[in-house]
């Protein structure tokens, strides 16, 4: 497969800048696969996994929200957060999960509930992504 340029940028840093053969990314409408020569495409990301194929092997990462923009020269993923599966701290993710669950129970009003729910979804996604390794 012909490789193409991929950049993953988060609010904190440029997370990845290099070549890839294929990526599969979770958008708000479902998983989308991108190969070299894809038409210009733009979609918002959901909370889910990102798979990046480098030298025939997929690397997994957990992302939460952002956008993907495919243009002729390169593909850019702007992700609110992005972590490689092997860099996820499982203990921290579990802790985040239980705080989110507690907050959901004690939430007052829709807003707090929505925020707690989003936190829980992010935590679960990170746990899922990390446990793929085993």
């Amino acid at each position: 497969m012909t490789p193409f340029k991929l950049q993953i940028i988060t609010p904190e840093k440029t997370f990845f800048d290099g070549e890839t053969d294929q990526i599969i990314v979770r958008t708000t409408v479902g998983d989308v696969g991108i190969l070299n020569g894809h038409e210009p495409y733009c979609a918002a990301l959901g909370i889910g996994q990102l798979r990046v194929r480098i030298n025939g092997e997929f690397r997994r990462a957990a992302t939460s929200g952002g956008i993907i923009k495919v243009s002729k020269e390169k593909t850019v993923i702007l992700a609110q957060t992005c972590e490689w599966a092997d860099e996820i701290d499982l203990n921290r993710a579990e802790a985040a999960k239980s705080t989110a669950e507690e907050r959901m129970k004690s939430a007052k009003g829709d807003n707090e509930l929505r925020m707690a729910e989003a936190k829980l979804r992010r935590a679960l996604n990170r746990i899922d992504t990390a446990s793929f390794l085993k």
Partner: protein, 278 residues
């Protein structure tokens, strides 16, 4: 003479403190500068994407772009958690106050930084939320929480405009207080943009990006401000150290003169005493 000696000592210990603070700020500044630089690409790309969508779809409008008559405003003010940073805190706070001088009512406030919270609380503003000690290590999710508060208020019609006040880090010695409007969203037309497929639709993608963009703007504003704070503090402390040095110098001159004078008087006393006896 004793007084002068005591003053030299106290100036000396003050100098030690200011020098230490200067060094701490320098090292924090280096880290903060890096963070500010790393936050920019994300912000720029997001902004570009939004402009592209707006340019490619001239007829589109969403809740976030419609300008309503402005009755209620929300100010997000970013200042420091600590003082002793020259004009850093007062510049940005004064700017926020000056910005609503002609308004019929005071704006609502989201305060980031202890100094901002204290300032607006004392002056009876309505504070929606107040954050302390987050500037040094702000996480994207925290910025998102702050942005969500503002977006929900905007969407429900509680407020008609959101403005961020922060300090732009121009260089290590120059920082500039600035204001930036977040909502309603302003995009500028791009001359050349490619045709793109938006999944599911341009509006849907745009509306998804707006909260991210607001969060990113807040994140940038906070890291820029934090770098500015360290820069301002370093300059202030450098000046204080220099002043302390100058003071010690003039005080020791004074001290030596006083000492010389007292020795001279003593000699005169002895000599005149001796000559009276002979």
């Amino acid at each position: 003479m004793k007084d002068i000696k005591r003053r030299i000592k106290s100036v000396g210990s003050t100098r030690q403190i200011t020098k230490a603070m200067e060094l701490v700020s320098s090292s924090k500044l280096r880290k903060a500068k890096l963070r500010a630089e790393q936050a920019r690409p994300y912000f720029n790309e997001l902004y570009k994407s939004m402009c592209e969508i707006a340019s490619a779809n001239t007829d589109f409008s969403t809740v976030f772009t419609v300008k309503r008559p402005i009755k209620h405003r929300l100010f997000i003010v970013v200042a420091g958690d600590r003082g002793l940073a020259g004009g850093y805190n007062s510049n940005v706070l004064k700017m926020a106050v000056a910005a609503h001088e002609n308004d019929a009512e005071k704006p609502k406030i989201i305060a980031i930084g202890k100094k901002a919270g204290e300032y607006f609380e004392k002056r009876d503003y309505e504070i929606v939320a107040s954050y302390e000690n987050i500037a040094e290590n702000i996480k994207p999710n925290q910025a998102q929480d702050i942005a969500d508060i503002a977006i929900n208020m905007f969407r429900s019609g509680e407020i008609d405009e959101v403005v961020v006040f922060f300090t732009m880090f121009v260089s290590s010695i120059a920082q500039e207080a600035q204001q930036m409007s977040v909502l309603p969203m302003e995009t500028h037309k791009l001359e050349n943009y490619g045709t793109m497929t938006y999944d599911p639709s341009p509006e849907a993608v745009f509306n998804r990006i707006v909260p991210r963009f607001a969060a990113s703007l807040i994140q940038c504003a906070v890291v820029e401000s934090y770098a500015s704070e360290q820069g301002a503090r370093r300059t202030a402390m450098e000046n204080a150290t220099d002043n302390a040095d100058a003071m010690t110098e003039s005080l020791s001159l004074l001290y030596n003169r006083a000492r010389q004078a007292s020795i001279t008087t003593e000699i005169i006393d002895i000599v005149s005493g001796a000559s009276a006896q002979s």
